[in-house]
Symmetry: C2
Subunit: 125 residues, 2 copies
DNA sequence: TGATAAGTAGGAATAATTACTGTTTATGAG
DNA sequence: CTCATAAACAGTAATTATTCCTACTTATCA
C-alpha cells in the first residue's frame, strides 16, 4: 500500500475522532482539506485500510461505521441519540473458554449492544 | 397484525429451516407455494414479524439474514462455506455482570463470530 | 530521471431495501 | 350473514449505500 495525501488525511481523521463516523461523515470532513476528494476515493481507502487492519468497521446498522481504535473493545448504540459508545468487556475470555468445544476456528468476533445510554436516561427523568 | 396466508407461509418457512435465509431465499422458496408472491410482500412481512418479535435479524453481512429461532443464542459465520451456525454462549451472564457499572440500559445484544467451521477445517486437512 | 503500478476524480452501475398505486381480502360491527 | 374498512397484496418505481469504470495524476524505485 502506497502513500497518498488523501489516504493519510482519511486515516488521521478516523484516528482523531471518537464518533465512529460513516463514509459520508469522513467525506464531508476531509473534503474541507481536500475539496476535490471524491466519495469513491473515501470508500476505496476505507476498504484498503480495513484490509491492512489499520481500522475496523461496525456493520450492524444500515450504514457502516468506521473505527480507528483497533484495540479489542465492544460497542453500544443508543436508540435515542444514535451515538455509538465504546465499552470494554471481557468477551475474549469467555470465547476462549467456551468456543473450543464447538470445534470451529474463531478468527474474529463482535459484541454489539443497543439500548438507552446513560445521558439519555438521565435527561428523560 | 392480521392473518394472511402469505404471512403465515413466510413465518412457517423461516421457522422450519436452520439456515438463516435472506429475503431472496425466502421469496424463492415461498414462491413455490404462492407463485404470485412479490419480493416487496416478503420484506413488508419480515419487518412486521420483526416488530412483533416473532423472528430476529442478523445484520452483520452485506445481506440481512433472518432467524425464526428467537431463543437467546449467538451466531458464527464460516468464511469458507458462508454458512451461519448457531452457538450457545453465556453472553447474557457477563453482560448482566459487567454492564451496570457503565450506566447504560442494555435492551438487546448480539455476539457475532467469524472464522472457519468445523467441517471446512476437516476437509482441508 | 523515467517507467509504471497504484491512486484519484467524477460519473455510471449495482443491488438491497423501501415507497407508491391500484386492487384484493381479512375482520368485526351491525 | 353482510358489508364497510383498514390492512395486505402484486407489481413497479424510487432510494441509497456501495462498487465499478475510465481517463488522468502521482508516488515509488530501479
Ligand atoms: Mn470503538
Ligand atoms: Mn440462529
Ligand atoms: Zn443516548
Ligand atoms: Zn465452513
Amino acid at each position: 500500500m502506497r502513500f497518498s495525501s488523501q489516504r493519510e488525511a482519511i486515516l488521521s481523521y478516523i484516528r482523531g475522532v471518537q464518533s465512529h463516523p460513516t463514509a459520508q461523515d469522513i467525506h464531508e470532513s476531509v473534503k474541507k482539506i481536500f475539496p476535490s476528494l471524491s466519495l469513491g476515493t473515501v470508500y476505496r481507502n476505507l476498504n484498503q485500510l480495513l484490509e491492512h487492519q489499520l481500522i475496523t468497521a461496525i456493520k450492524q446498522d444500515e450504514i457502516v461505521h468506521y473505527d480507528g481504535n483497533i484495540s479489542d473493545h465492544q460497542h453500544f448504540r443508543c436508540k435515542n441519540c444514535d451515538s455509538i459508545i465504546d465499552l470494554e468487556f471481557p468477551v475474549k475470555d469467555i470465547i476462549l473458554e467456551h468456543v473450543p468445544r464447538f470445534g470451529h476456528e474463531i478468527q474474529a468476533y463482535e459484541l454489539y449492544m443497543t439500548g438507552i445510554c446513560k445521558n439519555c436516561k438521565n435527561e428523560t427523568k
